[in-house]
């Protein structure tokens, strides 16, 4: 996992440090009409022209960061006034907990990234609260009696929701609930300032939940169908137990093992969804930050974002493996 993260950050570091991207950064920091020499000297002055691996090492915290010395006075001047820079050479990188400096928002990355993550965490929490029970319910209802009318209706409905990406359902919901009915707010921008409410937060949550519901429901249905054909279900039915009791007591627990993995692996998908939904509804969370960082080539912020997202992806994979073994005694390691 550490190796994967190392490789990925190296790739991201390489891509954001390509020549055109550096030029874009320099232009956004100076202004549109700066000459080639100005841009070049800005990059030179701020240390973007050092050796690639040295800079990667500095970011990582295995190479010392040198203080920025003004050639005229000889005193050390911080490169960006809004971040504290080392006055003497020291190790200060990711490993020491220093995420660097955001050039777009003009704050240290940690100050921007972690509140944004918190905001996204709230969004994710509500999405999960809506998505998981609804999709499990649909899946269990559909898988209970395979081939029945309920099953077919719910299956087609869940196929339809998997065919509806967030930017499609977002537009449809915004049109129906915000433009025509006027019940809900089509923007969640107020959620950041005034706290979340039903009025401004329902649309983003609904939009994100819908895309995932279909997929989880289909997985639950498949595993429910399989469980319902097992011998022990027939035994329970034959000994005279009611259908409802069989489903709730005998089938449900075994049918929920597969969806657990799917729900965990859904997190990386939610990450893409978060970006779309936050941009669409203007909610100041992680996805919004990522888009801002990427479109302004804010190197340190973008690296921080990718580190976080790769960490989320890898740790959910790990949790899903461990949780699967926990729920399913047959594959538990002796």
């Amino acid at each position: 996992m550490a190796l994967t993260m190392l490789c990925l950050t190296l790739v991201v570091f390489f891509l954001v440090n390509l020549e055109p991207n550096l030029k874009k950064l320099a232009i956004s920091q100076l202004d549109m009409r700066s000459s080639q020499e100005d841009l070049e000297s800005w990059l030179q002055k701020n240390g973007y022209r050092q050796n690639f691996f040295v800079r990667y090492g500095q970011w990582l915290g295995v190479v010392q960061k040198q203080p920025n010395i003004d050639p005229q006075t000889g005193a050390s001047v911080p490169r960006f006034a809004y971040c504290d820079e080392p006055a003497e050479a020291r190790y200060s990188g990711i490993l020491q907990g220093d995420f660097g400096c955001s050039t777009k928002f003009k704050v240290p990355v940690a100050k921007k990234l972690f509140p944004a993550l918190g905001a996204t965490g709230i969004l994710m929490f509500w999405v999960m609260v809506v998505m998981v029970p609804v999709s499990l319910l649909i899946g269990v209802l559909a898988g209970m009696r395979e081939g029945s009318r309920t099953d077919r209706t719910l299956s087609v409905a869940s196929i339809a929701t998997t065919a509806t990406p967030e930017y499609v359902s977002g537009v449809i919901f915004a049109v129906i609930f915000a433009s025509w009915l006027g019940w809900l707010n089509g923007s969640a921008a107020t959620a950041t300032r005034e706290g979340i409410s039903f009025y401004n937060f329902t649309l983003p949550v609904m939009t994100m939940a819908v895309y995932g519901i279909g997929y989880i429901a289909r997985m639950t249905r498949a595993s429910m169908v399989e469980v319902m054909t097992q011998q022990y279900i027939r035994t329970a039915r034959l000994k005279g137990l009611g259908f409802g009791a069989v489903v709730v007591k005998h089938a449900l627990r075994n049918a929920l093992i597969a969806p657990f993995t799917v729900i965990m692996l859904q997190f990386p998908w939610l990450l893409t969804g978060v970006v779309i939904v936050e941009v669409m509804f203007r909610y100041q969370g992680f996805g919004f930050t990522l888009v801002e960082a990427a479109s302004n080539n804010d190197i340190d912020l973008l690296l921080g974002c990718s580190l976080v997202s790769v960490f989320v992806v890898l740790s959910t994979q790990l949790i899903s493996d461990v949780g699967y073994a926990y729920l399913n005694p047959r594959i538990r390691v002796q």
């Binding site: 991201v12 390509l18 930017y167 499609v168 449809i172 089509g186 990522l290």
Partner: protein, 385 residues
Amino acid sequence: MDIEYIGAFGIILGALARFWPVWTALAIILVLSLRFKKSLGLYGQLFDTGVGVAGVMICLFWLFTAIFAGTVAPFDPLAQFPVMKSILPGAIEPGSGQAFLFGGDRLARDVFSRMVYGSQIVLIIAPAATLFALMVGTTLGLPAGYYGGRVDSILSFLANLVLAFPVILLFYLLVTPGIRETPIPQWMAGFFFIFPIVFFSLLFYTRFRGRPELLAIQLALTLVIGGWVYAGLVFDADPLGIISISSNQLNIFVAVVFASSPGVFRIVRGLVMDIKTRDYVAAAQTRGENPWYIMLWEVLPNARGPLIVDVCLRIGYTTILLGTLGYFGLGLAPESPDWGTGIKESSRLLRASVHPALPPVFALMSFVLGLNLLADALREQSLKD
């Protein structure tokens, strides 16, 4: 000047009438398919269920719309008519007397025509990128699953590396105007587009090694056609000038192939690991067949069922990805009529006018829905066998 409107009824009738070449083609296909259902194999069996018919028909509808786009669409997708700016659906354009069936957008273009032409972009890039991803994933997944060991662990590590990247971040890094100034898209294209050539060369070589005269023809054909397409796509140096691709389209194409081939790789690898334990593989090994012969001619044909289903789903997923790219304004030109760009443009102005947002939204949704229904029907058919 007053603009005349045709009513809601007129809009529906008008839209249905504009699609006449599509309806004709669909009717012909439907009649022929039902007539010869018995002799069409898997395709014929799709017509047994309602889901299958719906899936096939929706997919074919968009396919024919893309083919007949020039006849179906009344206006040019980029043409602007200043009087028709943000106009409501059903307004009649005074110059030509044709109606703006679904209204005009912010830049006074016909929303209906843009939707129809958008299908062309989607239906070229999505299936083509999926097929390339399939080639790459298969060519790498076969040896990984068959040999196992070090080959497998290296390739799997690389695949997991790409899969651990959130798709959206990958696109923000790989599809930018900046990266088009560097040779990276070309390198990646050069790397990915070599796989189909390798795949087909190996396919023919392993099968017809004993018959040099046949092999020579096939290899020559593969190399000539493959090299021709390769030169056109990668170096933009097609000697005949037929195949060419603009640099932003190449960029998108490469990024999409890059993002979706690890998924194919994982599926192929899993299937191969399952199939290689079968008796017919052991028989072929005992006969002393070349490992690549076994992979390509014994294992791969038996893995086709799940692969076909996966390709259907994956084309849908690629369509969603293309829409995402369009939605974030990455890669495609801002005036391009594709559905994602259309959704982006109109979703910002939902408060002002709603109608330009809906046609691309429903177009994208119905196409992906059609593909998913098709995949579902195919899966049920292949489970029956």
